[in-house]
Amino acid sequence: MMDLLRRGYITAPLLGVLWVFVVATTVAVAMSFATGAAFRPSGVGALVWGVLLGFACLPGPFWKPASAAILIAGVTLAGFGPIVIGSGVSVFSALLGAVATSGFAALGLRIMLDEVELGPINRHIFEGAVIRFCTGFGYIFFTAIVLIPFYVMVLTSLKNQAELIQNPLDFSIDFSKGTELLRSYDELFTQFDFGVYLLNSFLISVLTVAITLLFAVPGAYAVARLRFRGRAAFSRSILLIYMVPMIVLALPIYIAFSMTGLRNSLGGIIMIYPVTTIPVALYMLQGYFRGLPAEVEEAGLMDGLSRLMVIWKITLPLSLPAMASVSLYVFMIAWNEFLLAFMLLDDPSKFTLTRGIASLNSSEIPRQHLMAGSVIATVPIMALFLGLERFMTKGLTAGSVKG
């Protein structure tokens, strides 16, 4: 079976068909989302032209794939290509779709089929070609699934109800409207107090980070450096606390807060959030502290510093990168937290952003407001995260982390 596949005249058309179909689908989806016009991939077209392009892209003179690509672009415009362009699509879009499909298909196949010959090929060449196909497919696939929801989120927030219902696919932006595009955002800040929510979320997150570090740093140091009975058991129970589901805790916390009047207050939220993040922070930090050389600290002790001074003057300055990643991670947890805020806050003046967005989820509020709120909550955390991505990646993998 595998031997049968490992012949150039089978491998090339097979990969050709698959790749042309992938490219046709991608271009159709991308063009539909960008213009709202009717583009769709054609299975039969992909089959016919994929076989042809597969043979044309085998190693050889450059004119073969080039002329095959031009041919495919031509038949696509004529309506028989791997991508079908509906009537009423502007000439420019149609041309773009046809050229993108044939161009990317030919370019990809030419790279994939490097070294593949028409006759039998060896394992290495065959697997190399398959891997290059999978890589190309993987990049397209992951980029698409990650980007599409965010793309829909941002562009929906810029539209109005009527436009959305008329054609849900049309995400093209009419820049001539100018600031009118940002109307949803304006209304959220002027009529829905999103400025207050933003401030609340920011305050709560920063306080959570500060309190978490205050508790977790000494604790992590003790677990990492000091010898005491029950240390192993302790570091295990930290992990165990990771595993307690939030909803199980939220119910008694809700009851206790209802009875003591702490519900519906930011103070109550600030009492709870850090405790949910302390175990994570402690676990991440102790992993880092263990990796620091003990000799430096011992030198400090010999010079007459107390343990606490050693932590303050030696350990902390040495672990600034770890502190940055832990802070970032804790900030992210507090910023994104939804369940507790949803259950404990009822008063609109005390909402956090996530709670505020949840309150927009009603049939009376247009959905572009909901998406604008989502964008407002997402942009700061994304910006922070992209700016400090290096810390984040290291911090997340340093101590295995709750999701």
Partner: protein
Amino acid sequence: MTEAVPPKGTGPLARIEARLAWGLLAPTIIAVALVVVLPLLAIFWISFKPVSLADLRPPEVVLREDIRGDDEAVGDQANIRYRLRNSSQEQPILDVSFTDRVPAGLTVTELDPRCTLEGRDLSCDLGDWEPGYRENLMIPVTIEQAYLDNGEGPKDSPAIPQGKASNVLTNATFTLDNFARVFDGDEFWSVLWVTLFYTVFGTIGALLFGLFAALLLNKSFKGQGILRGLYLFPYVSPIIAVAFAWILLFDPFSGSANALLIQMGVTEQAINFFGERPLALIMVTIFEIWRYFPLSFLFILARMQSIDTDMYEAADMDGASPFQKFWYLSVPQLLGILSVLFLLRFIWTFNKFDDIFLLTGGNAGTRTLTVNVYEQAFAISNIGAGAAVAVVIFGCLLAFSFFFFRFISQEEGL
């Protein structure tokens, strides 16, 4: 000369160190005990209690006072009226009483037998109240000049009611009804099945996609950092934002996904992705995979980058093909991190609540155990039943973590 022996037991230095360690850990331990351990114990207690959402507010004496009749001129006859009721329709209140101050210039002409008046201090002892009891208590008074001059009405000195109500959360009533209700009927098994489907496929899917993404990015090229950051987006953005984006994207009436599928001829009619069985369950599982593949990808990538490249060079010399290198070299090296990730993700997916709650609210056959806690406690207002479900979850969790620690201690040497 005595023989030198190694010291036994803990020396003074070790004791100081241990004391310092516990001192440093104390704040964390106290905080965790208050917010994690105490609620866990409370959940066990509540799960045996017949408590509903309304019981969270204990019954109390509601009292309003006003003056009825003429109080315009000296010598007018009027009444101070106390309107009293038990706020609860289900619970009695015992030993109800209240105290109040009669404003200056009002002379009490006739006193209810249950009340006593000392100077201007009025106190009434009203005995035990049935659930839902209400009463109007009238105190007839005569108006004098001082009352008209002062302008001080009865409301200016608030009456203070008292009463003992039994709180269902703290009394000694216990019941097994909550557990009976939870395990009753087919519902429990369908919830358990949904939970298992969601957990198993969500976990495996996230791992496989994470592995695929890690393989893609395990080479250095221009833009690798950007792609790595991009692929983490689903994980770092707020759950509520991405969940609503998915709901809009897959909306049956005006969602882009449906419009796209119809345009491409995949389907004739719009599909209600989050509203149909069993599609809704598959969709929330896909969402779970989408949201958490970045985490697996990050860990697997970190492990891949720490694999020694010498091994691959040796394999190249021996003529191993790319697939063989992956299967015989990479996979065994990754098996450790894959199994740890599987166990961790399994437990966390099992515990997941927000995602399904936001996407479907537990409707259309997507109710997992965690969503059931919320459903019982808040939608049906039966807190006791919700707590019972939580206890079931906690039991499963204990079993998992037992397994986890047995396994992981061999794996990571924790």
